[in-house]
Symmetry: C2
Subunit: 236 residues, 2 copies
Amino acid sequence: MDKEDVLYQHGTLALLVPGLFSGTLPVGELLKHGDYGIGSVEALDGELIVVDGKPYLAKSTGDVLEVSDDELVPFANVHYDRPTDKYDRENISQSDLEKEILANHDYHNLFFAVKITGTFKKMQTRAFIGQRPYPTLAQLADNQRTFEADNIDGTVVGYFTPELYQGIGSAGFHVHFLSDNHKFGGHILGFELAKGTVTLQTFTDLDLHLPTHDSTFRRHEFDYDGMDSAIRGAEG
Amino acid sequence: MDKEDVLYQHGTLALLVPGLFSGTLPVGELLKHGDYGIGSVEALDGELIVVDGKPYLAKSTGDVLEVSDDELVPFANVHYDRPTDKYDRENISQSDLEKEILANHDYHNLFFAVKITGTFKKMQTRAFIGQRPYPTLAQLADNQRTFEADNIDGTVVGYFTPELYQGIGSAGFHVHFLSDNHKFGGHILGFELAKGTVTLQTFTDLDLHLPTHDSTFRRHEFDYDGMDSAIRGAEG
């Protein structure tokens, strides 16, 4: 097993649903497990994206900031970039591209990364607004900020999680964006790709790292009813 | 992260439900990730238990065999033994002991190992009978052999999987047994502990290793409805 075969995950998505938004791993530790990835920070106050080893946070103010190594994350995925598939693609929407990926590859039971670099005719993103005390994930999603850019160059980074793992991750595709000028980004709600390069990377191993020293997590009684719809509503 | 912090798992329990029983990892590879564990072999033809680095198979004939390194497993868990808790216990049933463990420790959201060495007043086990073509897990469970022993010395090895991970593992406790004389064993249906030492070991990381090169697994369309009850019926 090479390090590029592993998708590293800190936290389990289930803990975000009831509002366990405390950061439990420093970004500096997270980056020991990959150079590309996505996630969030304490209070879910923005959308994290790691590109070429550097972490950025797209905030609900519209700003994109570099993230320091001691910033704490409650949930994130990272991997070391080594694509298993690479091809160019033009003039396609996010939803058509995702359908095409699943139709052209027998990857629907695997964890895999998606990266797209290129020019986007349209890019729609959102960022959560951190609140205290922490609301539920659904309440946070009701109050998010959305952004739109036209004809923008940048990078899409994210993952496909098979249906079985809903609650551990967000089943289906989950992707974030960072513009090449590092001024625009967030959790992607939709895009139209003008022209770009798509890479996919399948993983043999999911390394699921849990915040076992966090007593709030350890003691929480999770309510699994309604978790699926809460995740689809907030992360879909 | 030390190697003792990792629970290694080959395969995902969901693949056993519809009958994907082909072995996809040699035991020799499995044993590079731990010295204690449980699992099954190709066709689910017996119950695997790893004690002190050695793999044994409890067969439906009642025999217990040593397993060679090239035997293939479809599903197994192993870890390196380094207990986080250790205590002596007398005169308690399996179900009371498991309730006591969860009541005395805030481990219900964690993956942890359970090991019990001692004398059992009663030990009830089962072993599946391999069939070809492969039936479903529920069909296999309908046709299992059960065994019972009184006043037997041996080792219980197994794991607790939090509810969220049902389908990846078997939610709750899942334990196998091997007698000290290596002549009796299997998947545990129940026991009465006379006197023994209980150890627990929590894990920060689940390393979920999938059979990504197996085309049957890659292409399978899993039916998630009914999976929970099928797993509880066969593995509970």
